[in-house]
């Protein structure tokens, strides 16, 4: 299959553009996704830091408060000194007063308590008591306080069962109590932060409809997770190990596949050692990406449309002048030089080509005209040569015959006829420069010649001219018949014993005019006949204007399909047939 330039351009452009647009789309979307993730990570990071600092605020408060309580002389005295009942009662009242102040001022504080190892205690507003069925020393946070490694111990979220009848979800900050004069921990002081505080804090953080945050303690235990129940039931899994691992690098990461792809962003608090993890769902973040996708697609569509139009316009702009050229060339191929020049050229390569083409066409046209002119001149020259080549022997012989007849004095009439015929012949042959003559004139000339010849060869030559009158006004190339007749006499009849007859016949045959010169002379051998039209052969006896000359001129004039046809048979005679087109041929005046 051949591809036109236009098609090639179209296909190339479309392929190129589609590829470019495709990459544009991919890269834009990738970039959009990247920046969305980056932005969301930044945003989430700030959120988690915010949550962390809020938690830190609560913890700091608890830390300070326990410090104050632990260092209180009243607490130390009440728990560790055996003093008078009155003094103890006063101390107890003061401690309770302090506790009340704390609990009244802070709704998020669930419990405040000091408990000595031997069971002395002050709890909340004095209306709560220890749960008799629970051993406080079994609590991990209590054990850690006793171990004395840290100034204070922060528990994970848990149900506070130490205080009877309460069972609150809390976060406990506890601290060891010392006697005024000892380094041995002999009691504990703790404050419970209502877990709801953390819960509210975390739940109020919005990370889209599905996103959430969760909090891990320093050991990786879950302090808060919205789906904690599901995690315990193994209905959901959380990537806690990876969070702890990645947190050390301080980076965020993406977990999960397809619709459940999530971005994890971590922030760890120096104070509590807790890690707040923000989880955003990619699908929600990517809603914006989808909007971007639609926008990009729309742009692509518009660009594609524009490209389509531009490409079609461009390919047409390139190929249409070429097509015009082709069309013009096809006309020239047919030989039509009229109206083939290219107009409306542009100032580009094709324009230059068209310009050159126009010049070339003009050049060809000039050359052809010149050629035609030269041809005519050549013919004219030949004609002249032919005219000047009227056999001088004929003139001498005719003159001799006239002299001979005049001397005998018997043939006055014949002398007059012959002399006038000779004069006529000479005048015609020298006279005008016409190339074409009417058949009538040509016949007239030939008849004059025949008259002269028949008078010279009195008993040997007769002639008979029968031409239909309709063709008499048709034109024919000059000197067509006479040389043929001369040829018939000198090569045919001259060698014949007895009387020779030259017949001239003329008629119309369909679109052609046919003239025949028929003699009953010696005839020709077949190979002689076949070569009679070949070339300008000069036999000693010919007058130099060969049959070939006539044939050649006819063909030059009327085309290759016209000309002479020779038929001949030894002993019977020769027939030359002239065929020319019937239509009126333009009369060239040179």
């Amino acid at each position: 299959m051949t591809k036109s330039i236009q098609k090639t351009i179209l296909i190339c452009y479309f392929t190129l553009f589609l590829t470019a647009l495709f990459f544009f789309l991919i890269i834009s979307l990738k970039y959009t996704e990247k920046s969305i993730i980056h932005n969301s990570t930044e945003y989430t990071k700030q959120l988690t830091q915010q949550v962390n600092s809020n938690i830190d605020y609560y913890i700091t408060y608890m830390e300070d408060t326990t410090k104050m309580i632990a260092n209180s002389i009243d607490v130390k005295n009440y728990l560790f000194q055996t003093e008078s009942k009155e003094a103890r009662a006063a101390q107890y009242a003061r401690i309770l007063g302090q506790f009340k102040t704390i609990m009244n001022s802070r709704a998020d504080i669930r419990n405040v308590a000091v408990i000595s190892d031997d069971g002395q205690n002050v709890i909340n507003r004095g209306t709560s008591w220890l749960n008799p069925y629970i051993d406080i020393t079994e609590h991990i946070w209590h054990q850690e306080v006793q171990a004395g490694d840290k100034e204070f111990v922060l528990s994970s979220s848990h149900v506070q069962n130490v205080i009877a009848e309460r069972y609150d979800w809390v976060i406990t900050l506890s601290r060891a109590l010392y006697r005024a004069d000892s380094d041995e921990a002999e009691g504990i002081c703790f404050i419970d932060l209502n877990y709801n505080t953390i819960d509210d804090l975390c739940q109020n953080v919005s990370l889209g409809d599905k996103g959430y945050i969760y909090v891990l303690d320093d050991k990786g235990g879950i302090i808060y997770h919205p789906q904690q129940q599901l995690l315990y039931s193994n209905l959901k899994a959380e990537v806690i190990d990876r969070v702890i691992e990645e947190e050390k690098n301080g980076s965020s990461f993406v977990e999960g596949k397809r619709n459940s792809r999530r971005v994890y962003t971590m922030s760890k608090s120096e104070k509590t050692g807790w890690t707040v993890v923000g989880v955003s769902y990619m699908s929600e973040l990517m809603k914006e990406k989808n909007h971007a996708k639609m926008l990009y697609l729309f742009i692509v569509l518009v660009l594609l449309l524009a490209t389509g139009i531009v490409t079609v316009w461009l390919s047409r702009a390139i190929t249409s002048p070429i097509k015009e050229l082709i069309k013009s060339m096809q006309e020239v191929e047919k030989g039509n030089f009229n109206n083939v020049e290219i107009e409306n050229m542009k100032q580009n390569e094709i324009g230059a080509l068209s310009k050159s083409y126009n010049i070339m066409i003009r050049e060809i046209q000039n050359l052809m005209e010149q050629n035609l002119k030269e041809q005519r001149q050549k013919r004219k020259a030949e004609m002249k040569a032919f005219q000047s080549q009227i056999n001088p022997h004929l003139i001498y012989n005719t003159l001799d015959s006239i002299i001979w007849m005049a001397e005998s004095g018997k043939h006055n009439n014949k002398v007059v006829l012959m002399t006038s015929s000779l004069a006529k012949l000479l005048r015609r042959s020298i006279g005008n420069e016409e190339e074409m003559v009417s058949i009538r004139k040509e016949l007239d000339y030939t008849e004059t010649y025949l008259v002269i010849q028949s008078m010279r060869y009195q008993d040997k030559l007769e002639f008979d001219i029968q031409v239909v009158p309709q063709i008499l006004d048709q034109v024919i190339v000059k000197f067509t018949l006479q040389p043929l007749v001369e040829n018939a006499i000198y090569h045919g009849i001259k060698y014949k014993e007895g009387k020779g007859i030259v017949k001239i016949r003329g008629w119309r045959q369909e679109d052609e005019i046919v003239l025949q010169v028929i003699d009953n002379g010696r005839g020709m051998e077949p190979e002689e006949r076949d070569h009679v039209l070949d070339k300008r052969k000069k036999t000693p006896k010919s007058n130099g204007v060969g049959v070939y000359n006539v044939h050649n001129r006819l063909q030059l004039y009327y085309g290759k399909e016209y000309g002479l046809i020779y038929e001949s048979e030894i002993g019977i005679g020769t027939t030359v047939t002239i065929r020319i087109p019937r239509e009126e041929v333009e009369y060239y005046e040179l």
């Binding site: 848990h158 996708k293 692509v300 569509l301």
Partner: protein, 324 residues
């Protein structure tokens, strides 16, 4: 000339792109289409069990971004009102209805109507007499009974004499739990007696007292719901039989936990209503999306003893913090 070809190629490219764009657009739309689910509950009470179940359901609702409604009769025994609610729910033309049937038989007709309207039906917590639901999520009560029986055997060894304080005679949960207990204990003769509390604390107290007076050699009481457990614990505590009679309870309440801490109750088997609610909604969503789901799912049961009340995991099950 090829002009005609281009006239085909160009719109072809364009239409391909337009089609892609449209597909993307509608794909987007489809994903955003909300699934509508209605939960028809047994009752509107705010007990731990139902609160946990609803909390679990809400968790799934948030996860799948559902259009979710809860409909509940004022009282648990009011199956007529529940049936009305079911018909009302059907007229709202949801994609799925999650149902906790109020009655084993009398809810059946309404439930059938749900499936007749080409709405997916998921049962949670309780069963129906006929298998009409697309998916059922319950505690495997027989298994729960087995857990209780095994623990009773563990506590008392071969000298076991069992009393059972069941709840509603003939109810599916009672039958299954009883079956689980007796299957494990194997010797029905050891099942000294079965009494029914009718899900009332006072009645539980009385029938347990009667049972203990009638069969004083009982050394373990297996109680099959929260009412029965609390009633039995109260009477045993009052009679001063804490040490002599072991109590294995069912379900979870603060009073039970206190008895557990005291040592009056020796163990309780708890269900996982949060999981039940969550799984119920998840199943409904999966059914609507045409995904495969297990026809019957066990949301699980767990034995809690004094020693493991305060483990990280059990705290969450026993003390749901949405209490406040």
């Amino acid at each position: 000339m090829n002009y005609r070809k281009y006239k085909i190629i160009l719109p072809l490219f364009l239409s391909v792109f337009i089609v892609i764009a449209l597909v993307l657009y509608y794909n987007n739309r489809m994903q955003q289409k909300q699934i509508k689910v209605i939960y028809v509950s047994k009752n509107a009470d705010t007990s731990d069990f139902w609160s946990a179940l609803v909390a679990g359901a809400n968790m799934a609702v948030k996860e799948y971004e559902l259009d979710f409604t809860i409909m509940a009769p004022e009282e648990e025994e009011d199956y007529k009102r529940q049936n009305e609610l079911i018909y009302e729910a059907i007229t709202k033309n949801p994609d799925a209805i999650v149902l906790s049937p109020g009655d084993y038989e009398k809810t059946l007709e309404a439930a059938k109507e749900i499936t007749n309207n080409d709405i997916r039906l998921v049962l949670v917590d309780s069963l129906l007499k006929e298998d009409v639901a697309d998916c059922v999520i319950t505690t495997n009560n027989e298994k729960a009974g087995e857990i209780m029986g095994k623990y009773a055997r563990e506590l008392c060894g071969e000298n076991i004499v069992v009393g059972v304080v069941s709840h509603v005679k003939g109810s599916s949960t009672a039958i299954e739990r009883e079956k689980g207990v007796s299957d494990v204990l194997n010797i029905s003769a050891n099942l000294e007696d079965v009494v029914y509390s009718d899900s009332q604390y006072r009645k539980a107290y009385e029938v347990t007292k009667g049972l203990m007076e009638k069969s004083p050699n009982i050394n373990v009481l297996i109680c099959l719901n929260e009412y029965s457990t609390v009633g039995a614990a109260r009477v045993i505590h009052d009679m001063g039989l804490d040490k002599k009679v072991k109590i294995i309870g069912f379900d979870n309440s603060l009073e039970e936990i206190k008895f557990l801490e005291q040592g009056v109750i020796d163990g309780i088997v708890i269900q996982k209503p949060f999981d039940m609610g969550y799984l119920g909604i998840v199943c409904a969503v999966k059914l609507v999306k045409g995904e495969l789901v297990e026809k019957e799912m066990d949301s699980g049961a767990k034995l809690i003893t004094k020693e493991n009340i305060y483990t990280e995991e059990n705290q969450k099950l026993l003390f749901p913090f949405w209490r406040e």
